[in-house]
Amino acid sequence: MTYSISTAKKIKRKNSIAKKSSYLSEGSEWTFDLIETYNLEISYLAEQCKLDTYPNQIEIINSEQMLDAYSASGMPLMYNHWSFGKQFLAQKANYEKGYMGLAYEIVINSNPCIAYLMAENNMTMQALVIAHACYGHNSFFKGNYLFKEWTNADAIIDYLLFAKNYIAQCEERYGIDAVEEVLDACHALQAHAVNRYNRPEPLSSEQEACRFHEREAYIQKTLNDIWNTIPKKENKVVMPNPKFPVDPEENILYFIEKNAPALSIWKRELIRIVRKISQYFYPQKQTKVMNEGWATFWHYTLMNELYNNHKITESAMLYFFTIHTNVVHQPEYDSAIYQGMNPYALGFNIFKDLRRICENPTQEDKQWFPDIAASNWLTTLDYAMRHFNDESFIQQFLSPKVIRDMHLFVLTGDRQKPYYEINAIHNEIGYRTVRNVLANQHNLGNLEPNIQVYSVDMMGDRTLMLRHYMHCNRDLDTEDTARVLAHLKTLWSFDVALESVTPDNKIQKTYTTKTSV
């Protein structure tokens, strides 16, 4: 069933504003008509707040479909892999035991922006999700600079379709095990398959498929086995031993795809697929706090607005507050359920406080944020949403009040010392330190080990040498590193080694797949 919004509806909506008191609905049941009405109402309010969004495609699914969807990275189409099955089983078990509620929504950075609503939810919940996903996340996807620059919302669904089909074909041709081996290896290196600083070329599935076919056809056409029988002329000139690659390469999978000496075409293509998808998700990893905070702020604001306009009942509003409070709950560091910073809570608090600073600045705010105190809150929030990632956003906008409210403190520890130390707490002298550390904590560059392709032993046994540039003297997990290197070896087809290097260029530890003789 497809509903599109008609002009008749718009007129009806204006009339209902004139009456000024009619609730959109009273019971908790939802219907398609009601969803449409709510969506219309919320979109009207969102427009008032100058939220710029992609068109929305709201899809109603049931809970099992929801489980399906988010065990495959939340994408509507994904290639098959056992790890998604593992995720599915884990989530299903947790859900059935009641350890975990299902995510309320899934929203996909695509154009049109696809949002899943779960059929089991009641009307208030649906309204919340529409506000959160279809207007909050959606406007973030469209506005934030990282998404604008690095992802291609128009092409992603097509690309995933291409990837799924291509991988299915490979499985048919080369067997599930062979494909799995490559994908396992790629997944292990997924976090090291992104370009952090230069934008990769945009993708389009048709081009992708076309390019691939051309490449394959060309190789087929020019393949002439007879050339292989001619002995190669010995190159008499002794080449100087150049370092390859000239500069270290941060995108390990890219390097493998382009330079692995003995890799069949289809394997390179698989690497490329994993790489592309990884790159697509990279902005989401960098803006977790902002993205969720922004969406949460807007569902909070829009729902309140609906209530103020007498569109939803008091009981619906009470229900909304229960849900909202759960979403933005930040357990304390020593609580049994503490699992790190809740990005919803942190982001929501910062955005909400930003609005307060604009509307009711205190003396402190004027001192800390002279340029935004008492400015137009809509413009300021819009600016904050567009031009930052988590790290810079926290650095810019985390206010002393939020630090106080959340009772943030800095804990430092060094393996060498028998104690942890509290470095700073939520007081006048501590604010800046807390803010710096929290910002750093959201810098992906600090969280994931910085590992780059350093060199290839071109003249010798072709060993691929990686370098781990150590940060804060942190080492690598020995067991996992060995396993990842083994994966890497299957792709590179020759030995792989890794050196941990301190900032003063001293090699601290070496890992290798070579078996010592």
């Binding site: 056992w82 959340m406 800095v410 028998p418 104690y419």
Partner: protein
Amino acid sequence: MNKNIIIDRRLNGKGKSTVNRERFLRRYRKYIQRAVNEAINKRSITDTKSGESITIAKKHLTEAIFKHGPNGYIEQVLPGNREFIAEDRIKRSSESNDARSGPGKTMNQGEGLDDFVFGINRNEFLEYLFDDLELPNLMKKENVKNHNDTTFHRSGFINAGTPNQLSVVRSLRHAYARRIALSSKDRRLMQEIKNKLLALDNQVDDVESLQNEKDILNKQWHVLKNKIDRLPFLDKFDLKYMHTIRIPSLSSQAVMFCIMDVSGSMTNDIKDMAKRFFFLLYLFLQKKYESVDIVFIRHHAEARECNEEEFFYSRETGGTVVSSALKLAHEIIEKRYKSNEWNIYLAQASDGDNWEADSPRCSEIIREKLIQHVQYYAYVEITDRHHQNLWFEYEKIQQQYANTFSMAHIPNLNEVYPVFRSLFEKKIGVFA
């Protein structure tokens, strides 16, 4: 104004993850099998319906990535400070506790090493449990069972039916035949007219009257043509429908005789092991046959047929005469389970005690009365003592009937499943 769309996807169906789930099971087959083997010892005997939850240690499942180890300088922001002020120090708990309690917990960025638990359904459970096992001498003896299981079979064509059963070919063929039959006279007349016209065409004289005659004939021909055209292409009584009838379905069936010694020497532990063995056999039979009957025979000095409850839980004392049970089994087979209709499996559990003079008699009954009727005879001796005369007597039978008779020794609970497996292991290679 954006154009928004609302789509109902609920009908699209779930099960998108089915393939991925299968991939996962396939990859971890080894571990799942191990978990199943452990589960079978803990499982309630009467539980034949439910699936099983499988536990795999998480460390086998983690996908490796480059990640930080425990060393180095760590600095992080935590929420919910209550009592700390700057420059407070917290003692680092010992390393093992590091990951579990206090502020140390937050240092552990990786996931905990809990077990990964998920469910498999009954069929999958049995699949793993009996993987690589086979029932020896599996013959599907089929007979008509009296119960209501029926299947639909096609049986010719009839004149009335529902549209979905319409046989298009038959109906059209019938319509064609009817059209031919009803128009044959008219077509013959038309042919005659045509012949006459041809004859007229060949005459040369008297053009005027000829033309007249021709016109009349042409008119007649057209009248007939119209008549034929008016015949309905498809008439109601042309319609033929496929006929289906119910036929009682055939099913393969098996009966399992559980024979157990309940004399005083059988302790509860021994009975429990016997029960597990019987239960495994029952599950296995159930997987292979559509219906499985069970006959419980308990015996001490004399044998009696009983129900499950009594079989496993009542205790009696007395001497042990194994042959009484075998005799009773034979009688029941004669009376109720004809060997040409039933696949008969006999499982006997005992601690090996038997009245000295009775063992040769057992052997005799088995050789002469039972072994030719049964698909398989399994004897398990559950004891941690030395074998006694029954065992040695049975060993001779086993040599003679290696295909149908097998015996094994179960020393303790953990051995039940391995022994079961060894009895039913697929015999690879028949190159004897």
